[in-house]
């Protein structure tokens, strides 16, 4: 049959059409999308490419869970060389052998990395950014500036609140911070869930699209959960329309780690890139641009920028020490309680 033959040939042809070839000496970096991507490319990957001649292809992925999924489906045939993801997800990737252990012998820059950042990565890649959990609010439409999460339990704010619920990490940190403020123990969440049930009917969305910062900026909501670095960046971009608050209840750290994917076809270039990303220059440049605190103790960002990061004394003093290894075990139970108890109570 001529048809069958043609099909065979075409089938063959489509294996030949080149997918974007992974050129030797090129690094594929999988990390967060949006403004993280824009700023990371500007301040880290592009300078690295210019200095080393190694091209970096940035592959944006919505969140850490999807990154882990990608690493799993590509196990044995990775299309990614370096990944920047949340420390809890990275721990799973490390345990499953999807990313490589790193040693000071092979990567001397690790000596300068902050102790907390090293611990966050275990024997795999270390933390590359520090960030913390904040409330964002619209400074133009909200009359009374908030000071704490508890301010939001107010019927006047019906439909004006965005909470990112688990599996989003923001939802987990919110739960932990509220529990800590109430009982002194972040794991003691029973009464916190009771409180969350009460606020649920006031919530506009538990899954802000495209993200919570946009909803605050275009006044879809007045208040939202968020991460400090992005919020600080949007505050500047919007000339202060977006307000950033470190609520009285406290905050939690969020650490992103950087890892070399096991089986990377460009391992040498990947190692070089990770070294650069952890270097004082790259760390300072990214902090100055986007207010993630550096993890390299030798990095010297501007005092103004540093004062707005997680490393500022104000935020350090309010951090609730969440043990993420333990959180991983609690996560699924909390996730289910949010769905069944909180969100179910929050018809709109």
């Amino acid at each position: 049959m001529r048809g069958t033959l043609a099909v065979g040939l075409l089938g063959l042809a489509c294996t030949i059409v080149p997918a974007r070839a992974q050129a030797p000496g090129q690094v594929v970096l999988m990390a967060y999308p949006g403004i993280f991507q824009d700023n990371y490319v500007d301040t880290v990957t592009r300078p690295f490419s210019q200095a080393s001649g190694t091209a970096v292809q940035y592959f944006p992925t919505t969140n850490s869970a999807q990154m882990l999924g990608t690493l799993r489906t590509q196990k044995g045939d990775p299309q990614v060389d370096v990944v920047i993801m949340d420390t809890t997800t990275a721990a799973a990737a490390c345990a499953e052998g999807l990313v490589e252990p790193l040693t000071e012998a092979e990567m001397p820059v690790l000596k300068d990395v902050h102790q907390i950042a090293r611990q966050a990565g275990g024997e795999c890649g270390p933390g590359v950014t520090f960030d913390h959990f904040v409330m964002t609010w619209n400074t133009q439409t909200v009359q009374t500036p908030p000071t704490a999460w508890r301010d939001l339990w107010n019927p006047a704010y019906r439909g004006r609140i965005s909470l990112s619920s688990p599996p989003d990490i923001q939802g987990l940190v919110l739960t932990a911070v509220l529990a800590h403020a109430e009982t002194g123990d972040w794991r003691n969440v029973n009464s916190t869930f009771q409180k969350l049930r009460e606020i649920a009917p006031l919530v506009q969305t538990f899954n802000p699209q495209p993200d919570s910062y946009t909803l605050v900026l275009n006044d879809q909501v007045g208040f939202a959960t968020g991460w400090n670095a992005r919020a600080q960046y949007y505050r500047d971009q919007s000339n202060g329309r977006l307000g950033v608050l470190l609520p009285a209840e406290g905050t939690g750290f969020q650490i992103n780690t950087i890892n070399v994917v096991k089986g990377s076809k460009n391992r040498a270039a990947a190692m070089a890139f990770v070294t650069y990303a952890l270097s004082p220059d790259a760390q300072a440049a990214f902090t100055n641009r986007m207010f993630y605190a550096p993890t390299n103790t030798q990095a010297r960002p501007s005092a103004e920028a540093l004062g707005r990061t997680a490393a500022a004394p104000e935020s350090m003093s309010k951090v609730v020490a969440i043990d993420w290894a333990e959180m991983v075990k609690l996560r699924e139970a909390w996730n289910q309680r949010w769905r069944r108890e909180v969100i179910a109570a929050g018809g709109r």
């Binding site: 869970a65 999807q66 439909g159 599996p167 879809q220 699924e332 996730n335 929050g346 709109r348």
Partner: protein, 277 residues
């Protein structure tokens, strides 16, 4: 006698492709649903553990009922809205008929994401509808980020299919019967209820089923317009597959959803046959 090309040979290439891209993935899915999973790691097994876990979970039952209810509502609304459109397209002699027919199925060919962005501009608390209502002193109505938003979006997204199915079925409508009824003195409304609707009942029922099935499997609309409040079987499958990375659960839920849909389609077929007999 002329030489006959064996029909099965003609079907072979397509059958081969469908085997590769349909049967094999479905078998993989079936196989995966019997794996055991612990915190995302996969253990090959022939175990009913995942199914048992889902069966004992009242949340799965609630989500199932919500999904079916949502799909039934949207299918009904879609057919109600689509019926006059199909009738209009079927009868009109307008020069614009071609253009109008294209406009009716156009959304079918537009990415679901694009439509959701349009709905956001229209339905959000600061959207056009609420601005208009506000101008008349009506308080802000929550039209998105809840079940209402998903119902609106989903109805719209299954409408083109309903229109296509209705137009295909309207071919049975014999205009002479309608004309006869009218000439016997029946008013337009009587003719419509007593003649047009009964004659097109098979088309209505087929269009409803199609819209229903598509409504159960819809994923983008609930995900983007539900405000994190709307859990359906489809969003649960996606979350299990892509967010919590519990592949056995995603596969088992898929198998469950397929069984459920097959049952409904079979029940519909049985009902239609009885009604036809």
């Amino acid at each position: 006698m002329r030489r006959r090309l064996p029909g099965l040979l003609l079907c072979a290439p397509a059958a081969f492709v469908l085997g590769l891209c349909f049967v094999w993935p479905m078998l993989s899915l079936f196989r995966m649903s019997f794996y055991e999973g612990e915190g995302g790691t996969l253990i090959p097994a022939w175990s009913l553990a995942t199914f048992t876990r889902l069966a004992e979970d009242p949340f799965v039952r609630d989500v199932t009922l919500d999904s079916l209810g949502l799909a039934a509502f949207c299918a009904t609304m879609a057919v109600l809205l689509a019926y006059p459109m199909a009738l209009f397209l079927f009868r009109t002699t307008s020069r614009l008929r071609g253009l109008l027919a294209i406009a009716a199925v156009m959304p079918l060919l537009v990415s679901g994401t694009a439509r959701v962005i349009g709905w956001m501009a229209l339905l959000s608390d600061q959207g056009l509808i609420n601005q208009l209502l506000g101008a008349f002193g009506v308080p802000t109505q929550p039209l998105i980020n809840n079940w209402t938003g998903v119902r609106i979006g989903l109805t719209e997204s299954v409408m083109p299919y309903a229109i296509l199915a209705l137009i295909a079925g309207l071919g049975r409508l014999d205009r002479r019967v309608e004309a006869a009824a009218a000439s016997l003195g029946a008013g337009p409304l009587t003719t419509f209820w007593r003649i047009t609707v009964p004659m097109t009942l098979p088309a209505i029922s087929a269009a409803w089923l199609l819209a229903f099935v598509l409504g159960v499997s819809a994923f983008i609309t609930p995900k983007l317009m539900g405000g994190g409040r709307v859990f359906t079987l489809a969003t649960e499958i996606f979350d299990a597959a892509m967010e919590t990375l519990d592949w056995p659960a995603a596969a088992a839920l898929s198998v469950y959803a397929l069984l459920l849909l097959s049952l409904i389609v079979a029940a519909h077929a049985a009902l239609t046959r009885r009604a036809g007999a």
